[in-house]
Amino acid sequence: MIRLICYLMGGKYMKAANFSYYEAKNIQDAIKIKANDEEAVILAGGQSLLPALNMRLSSPSCLIDISKISGLNDIIIDGDYLFIGALATHSDVMRNEIVSQKMPCLIDILKMVAHPAIRNKGTHGGSIAYGDPAAELPALAVATNAEIILSGQNGDRSINANDFYLGLFETAINQDEIVVGIKYPLLKQGQVFLFDEVCRRHGDYAMAGLIANIILSSNKVNDLKLVFFATGDKPDVADKTAKLFLQTGYDYDQLKNSLSSEIDFAGDLNSSSEMKLHLATILIKKIINKLEA
């Protein structure tokens, strides 16, 4: 977002425009304010929002600060799910014992999210709700068929991540709703989540990334879901390509053709669409190599 727009501004701004600030005491309080003000936005860790404000890419009427609300950073097992509260920071998640036992790949993924200072402030729910197509967590949520828990005026609802991301920074969050947590299905027997990405520098947004949800039976890939990020306007699910892989194994040319027909690769400053297509194809190989290792 920043990279798309900053040059249009001619480098004018580094201080945010005026906004009002509301420190929410509880979730109902925050919902009430948000429901009544279309231009209000939620402030959690602020790692994406604050730069956008300072560059005046975003001029909201009000920041509803939810960071002081207690009970929104739980990390617990909830039935067949790992529940991560929206306000758990990336650092909280990386250090959590339950996560390291039940979903170790999440820790590997978070190591690639920016740098420690940002991970200390940035929140799990913030990343899911912001829906940056180049970010890891939205793709993870889609790959694992996670449920995103939203609180609104009429109570809580749950929506599958596959239905949550609608377009560039566009999600299914309603005006009166706030993301309060994410539920990741616990790994089943023979199931593994694998992740890889290619960045120019450590901690950067990837040129292309892949999260694979793999079901193994007797050491063979039985089922496979491939979700790419930093490739298009939202997490890109490549079901046709996954099916092709299950039929024919890794064949660079075939998989590349399939990906190119299935995903609308959008180039950016660091990698053209052609580069992203190549890297996406290579990422499948890298994931398979990891699986074999």
Partner: protein, 797 residues
């Protein structure tokens, strides 16, 4: 104390004595202040009645300003006034960025704010003065400008075409400057050569990315007719002259204070239109005015550098001896030549430095510098070096491959021999006290180069492309008056130092050299304490204040140690001489029988001495106790400049080893080696910091950094998220070693050490990458060498 890392320089006295600080890796005291958050940067300063500014900048690369309507904006909260070029020009005269000693340069007048036409995206056209920066930015949104967008000349390669957009119609075309060097007869030599190799290299624009952005507080005091400027620049006395000249002030009543500066790299040694506007606003309003560039402004208005396309040709005989070299360089500098150093120097250095380590009897070089609608380009750390070194070393590798010779051997047989100085570069520049042979030998020894050929073959079997490179280079440091002064610029090539013994026994030193984070203050202290014979902690240093320091050039072009350090040495020796004269009179003995150790005047043959504190007390408070006729001056001042040659050159040799992921195009620098010969090292640890920091900047240029523009001249990556600089993960181990050949131009013998890494790393990294790629018949020729360029070279995309 730390181990002595340097060879003893006999002119400096024995190293086995108390207070022998020169050559020791002592921790620098001012690092503590910064770690503790106690630095004083321009933005830390708040003055009574101070106002803030925000500039309205052109969103277009080239556009006519039909009208500017500030009526509504002036009513915005907190706004004091809004100025356009009309108001600023009433108090600030325009400038022209040309010099007289390098042939004809053509650049038009430039004013703080653009008048009718904006010529780069980011050029200031109006300025809001308000009680806070946020209020000033609020008002910016309310200024209405009627723009007429014009075609922009973005590409330097078409800037001289007949149908190019002429940026300054009064000049007739977009040519700023051109120079040709012709030594010997290259055409004849190429005909006689057994092998001729050619290449064309591209270098993207990049910029300095200082941690602290540019900042200024201007404070005009009407009652005293005095202008005080707090500025994070590199050359306070140069700024004093320029501000006095263009604002028509008494130069003696302009004071420039540069306290802590958070990195400069040459970015902060130029005159910027927005900073000049700030001084003009203070003069108009009679109030202190603060401007701190934000990061977007830094990217679009700090000078950019590089932006070169260079083709080269090298001819060798069958034994690898170089017979001729020819280069043709094109550079684009934006719409104006920067003031007062001009934007010609980078190309000039490319022409001077290409081939400089080698005997090349026939040499021809053509440089062409053109205008374009991009941010102005000017001198940044290692000016011109990366281009000169990269083209030279790429051609030498190509010649070695062509005639089947080892990469180190072809260099060794062509070096200007270490015992042949004084000598001249292929371009005719005088060279002295260099050591390419010894430095390369040392490099090969610490790299253990033999093993890389084996490793490369093993890696290849495993599907990994790995490669290595070695290069040699000259660095321009310690410039003499022949650099700028001779061309008419008021930039001092002389630096001064003043040192005194105070009543408490403390030593106070002031120098015209400035500190921007590299440790200047620390080395000045070491030199003064060493030469005087006092403990390091008894020396206090003042830098960066035109009212409080001797006159001089400041810190740029690696001149702090060699020029400023020599002035400190001379001043300390003078003071020591004065002290010993007084002590001899008091102690009724010969001066020659006395010395100073650990803050005491001591008798060389033993016996009772006198502490400096007691001596100072006697001189200052009980002067009647000193014999009549004794000179009571406990203050000494000295100056130094380089005479007779344009620069004191330094040399270095570098090597690196890389591997390339053939699937992703990602390059990993596994290890980097640098051997530097900067003469006497005053503090080896600080020298090594200079080398390592420079190498990191060089990695930036080679692999990451680029100011990306679209076809309309919009900069597309003006944020730290999108403009990539190397971070900790991208930094390899950098092994630094030294050869020491003291400069014969000074007692201290120090040469500059700041340019090598930045100047040499891009060449050796590119050579190592091409050494790896050669195994599959591929090559990269454009920096930064991105994964996408590598994959294209490999035919993968």
């Amino acid at each position: 104390m730390d181990d002595i890392k340097v060879n003893q320089n006999p002119k400096l006295g024995s190293i086995d004595r108390p207070n022998s600080y020169i050559g020791r890796s002592l921790p620098r005291e001012n690092a503590k202040k910064h770690l503790d958050g106690g630095g004083q940067f321009v933005d830390d300063l708040t003055l009574p009645r101070m106002v803030h500014v925000a500039f309205l900048r052109s969103p277009f690369a080239h556009a006519e300003i039909k009208s500017i309507d500030t009526k509504t904006a002036k009513l915005s909260d907190g706004v004091i006034d809004i100025f356009t070029a009309k108001e600023i020009d009433e108090v600030c005269k325009p400038w022209v960025g040309v010099l007289g000693h390098l042939g004809e340069m053509r650049s038009p007048e430039q004013s703080p704010l653009a008048k009718k036409i904006a010529r780069w995206q980011g050029e200031p056209i109006a300025v809001v003065i308000a009680n806070s920066r946020a209020q000033a930015e609020d008002a910016l949104e309310l200024i209405e400008v009627d723009w007429l967008e014009k075609d922009a000349q973005v590409d330097m390669e078409t800037a001289l075409d007949p149908n190019a957009v002429i940026i300054h119609p009064e000049l007739g075309n977009n040519l700023f400057w051109t120079r040709t060097v012709n030594q010997g007869d290259v055409d004849k030599a190429f005909k006689e050569a057994d092998a001729v190799v050619e290449t064309t290299l591209d270098f993207a624009r990049h910029t300095g990315v200082t941690l602290e952005s540019r900042g200024i507080v201007a404070d005009w005091n009407k009652a005293e007719n005095k202008m005080t400027i707090y500025h994070n620049g590199q050359a306070p006395h140069m700024m004093q002259h320029i501000i006095a000249k263009h604002l028509d002030l008494n130069e003696g009543l302009v004071r420039i204070i540069s306290r802590d500066v958070g990195g400069s790299f040459g970015i902060k040694v130029h005159v910027y239109p927005d900073e000049m506007a700030v001084t003009a606003i203070s003069k108009k309003l009679g109030r202190p005015v603060k401007f701190i560039a934000d990061r977007l402004e830094s990217f679009t208005t700090d000078i950019h550098a590089r932006c070169h396309k260079i083709s080269g040709k090298l001819g060798v005989d069958k034994n690898g001896k170089i017979l001729a070299m020819e280069i043709d360089d094109l550079s684009g500098i934006g719409p104006f030549s920067m003031y007062p150093r001009t934007s010609a120097i980078e190309t000039n250095q490319v022409l001077n430095l290409s081939g400089a380590p080698y005997v090349i009897p026939n040499y021809k070089a053509v440089g062409t510098v053109v205008f374009q609608n991009k941010t102005p380009m000017c001198q940044y750390r290692a000016v011109g070096h990366p281009i000169a070194v990269a083209i030279t070393e790429a051609l030498i590798d190509k010649a070695a491959y062509k005639i089947g010779m080892d990469l180190d051997k072809i260099r060794k047989i062509n070096f200007i021999p270490d015992n042949s100085y004084p000598n001249k570069s292929p371009s005719g520049v005088p060279l002295e006290d260099l050591s390419h042979q010894a430095s390369m030998d040392k490099l090969l020894e610490i790299m253990d180069i033999e093993k890389f050929e084996t490793k490369k073959k093993d890696d290849y079997q495993k599907g990994i492309l790995s490669g290595y490179g070695v290069i040699s280079m000259c660095e321009v440091t310690n410039p003499s008056p022949l650099f700028y002064g001779v061309g008419g610029a008021h930039i001092s090539s002389q630096d001064g130092a003043s040192i005194r013994l105070e009543g408490s026994g403390a030593i106070h030193l002031s120098s015209s050299i400035t500190e921007q984070g590299q440790g200047t203050e620390a080395i000045m202290k070491q030199i003064a304490a060493d030469q005087l014979g006092v403990k390091l902690e008894s020396v206090r240093v003042t830098l960066g204040d035109t009212d409080a320091t001797p006159y001089g050039g400041g810190t740029w072009a690696s001149r702090g140690a060699g020029i400023g350090g020599e002035a400190v040495l001379k001043a300390a020796r003078k003071l020591k001489d004065n002290i010993l004269n007084i002590a001899a009179a008091i102690m009724q003995t010969d001066k020659e029988s006395l010395d100073i150790e650990d803050n005491n005047v001591v008798r060389k043959n033993g016996g009772e001495g006198i502490s400096l504190q007691k001596l100072a007390e006697t001189v200052y408070y009980r002067g009647h106790e000193i014999p009549k006729g004794t000179n009571p001056e406990l203050l000494a001042t000295a100056s130094f400049l380089i005479e007779g040659i344009p620069f004191v050159f330094t040399n270095s040799a570098m090597g690196c080893q890389v591997s390339i992921d053939q699937d992703t195009g990602i390059i990993k620098i596994n290890k980097f080696w640098a051997v530097e010969d900067c003469g006497t090292q005053i503090n080896p640890k600080l020298v090594e910091e200079q080398i390592r920091g420079g190498v990191i900047q060089g990695i930036g240029g080679a692999l990451f950094e680029e100011c990306v523009y679209d076809d309309q001249g919009n900069m597309q990556n003006a944020t730290m998220a999108d403009y990539l600089v190397p971070m900790a993960y991208e930094m390899p181990d950098i092994i630094v070693d030294h050869v020491t050949t003291n400069s014969g131009r000074s007692i201290i013998g120090a040469k500059g050490a700041g340019e090598a890494g930045t100047g040499g790393a891009p060449a050796v990294i590119m050579n190592a990458i091409n050494n790896a790629l050669k195994q599959v018949g591929a090559e990269v020729i454009s920096q930064p060498i991105t994964p996408e360029k590598v994959l294209k070279a490999l035919g993968k995309i």
